[in-house]
């Protein structure tokens, strides 16, 4: 029932209009989530690390990440133009928060301690089977960015550093 409620919240968040209705619904269910305000740099870090079109930027995935460099929310939009929209940040937020709502509630309730309880963290660290392999290790930039959000104090500069990380330079060009 809780999961269904969360999914309903996610749908509400994707719908045009005031998304605070979703927040209100999960509060009533006694569930907790990391902060939505200031989430944008976290989403940007996730987009470049996990949300490319060949990974979680695919509509076939249960964890879908939306954004300007990947899957677009607006059916008239495309993956080559225009930056991430507010609605896409909103949809990405609910996509992550609604993945394991009870576990997320426990992690947030513990101030972000033991984040590896979340599949999102375990898969990223390569502790669970993950087609994308190991993307992070404890205390690297991506991991610190994610943990800071789960703890309720977003490390914006670290998240931006992950999102804006320079690509390797091709030698000989």
């Amino acid at each position: 029932v809780r999961r269904a409620l969360w999914l309903a919240c996610a749908c509400l968040a994707c719908a045009p209009g005031d998304p605070t209705g979703a927040a209100g619904a999960f509060d009533e269910a006694g569930l907790r989530a990391p902060p939505r305000p200031g989430f944008e740099p976290v989403a940007d870090a996730l987009q470049v690390t996990c949300g490319t079109l060949d990974c979680h930027g695919r509509s076939a995935r249960n964890l879908r990440l939306y954004g300007g460099r990947g899957l677009r929310l607006d059916p008239d939009d495309n993956s080559a133009e225009r930056p991430t929209t507010r609605a896409e940040y909103e949809a990405t937020y609910w996509s992550i928060v609604g993945l394991e709502p009870e576990v997320m509630t426990a992690v947030v309730g513990d101030g972000g301690e033991k984040p590896e309880r979340l599949s999102l963290v375990r898969k990223g660290r390569g502790l669970d089977d993950h087609k994308g392999g190991r993307l992070s290790k404890p205390d690297d930039g991506y991991d610190r960015c994610l943990r800071s959000w789960l703890a309720g104090a977003i490390d914006e500069s670290t998240c931006r550093g992950v999102a804006d990380a320079l690509r390797p330079v091709v030698r000989g060009l």
């Binding site: 490319t52 079109l53 060949d54 899957l71 677009r72 607006d74 495309n78 080559a80 390797p168 030698r171």
Partner: protein, 179 residues
């Protein structure tokens, strides 16, 4: 008769167990070969090569790790030959492929087995263009680069935003049957 029946059932199960129904459906959706192009390096431009050119695929004897098709510019579906495709993986290993007259290029798995993510840069006639996002899991360009541009596609791979900047003439590359 029973023995024969059991043999048929066993073969049917063995065949079914080896298949990947998702991949099979994706291959089926690509449609048949173009009768004007024999199967080979020039065939099926713009399609996701690694659907077949992987272990267990219908062209698994020629496995690729990265493969795709390069076009001239975002608005043109004119393939571009002789484009250098530079690929660098997360361990810093870099290799180069070159597009043929169909715009196709490929890196054999025996030649380059990368550790994802990968970054790609194209160079042609003085133009250098970097792919903005890394490739995270799939070496087929056309998994994400299909036409038309859409919510889950960045459109085809191209060399320049400004076709006037290319010195090569704006006409199809002749494909005489040899890449």
């Amino acid at each position: 008769v029973r023995r024969c029946y059991h043999a048929i059932v066993a073969v049917a199960f063995a065949t079914a167990a080896c298949g990947d129904p998702v991949r099979d459906a994706a291959v089926e959706a690509l449609g048949p070969e173009d009768p004007a192009v024999r199967p080979g390096p020039l065939h099926r431009p713009g399609q996701p090569c690694l659907l077949c050119h992987v272990a267990g695929g219908t062209a698994g004897e020629r496995r690729y790790s990265v493969a795709g098709t390069v076009y001239r510019d975002p608005d043109s579906t004119m393939p571009l030959a002789d484009v250098e495709v530079w690929v660098i993986d997360s361990r810093g290993r870099q290799v180069q492929a070159r597009s043929n007259c169909a715009g196709n290029f490929y890196l054999r798995s025996s030649q380059f087995l990368p550790v994802f993510p990968l970054w790609v840069t194209l160079r042609h006639a003085g133009q250098v263009i970097d792919m903005e996002s890394p490739m995270r899991a799939d070496g087929s360009c056309a998994t994400c680069h299909t036409d038309p541009r859409a919510p889950s596609s960045a459109g085809h791979v191209y060399v320049t935003d400004d076709p006037m900047s290319l010195r090569t003439p704006a006409m199809p590359t002749p494909c005489g049957g040899t890449p």
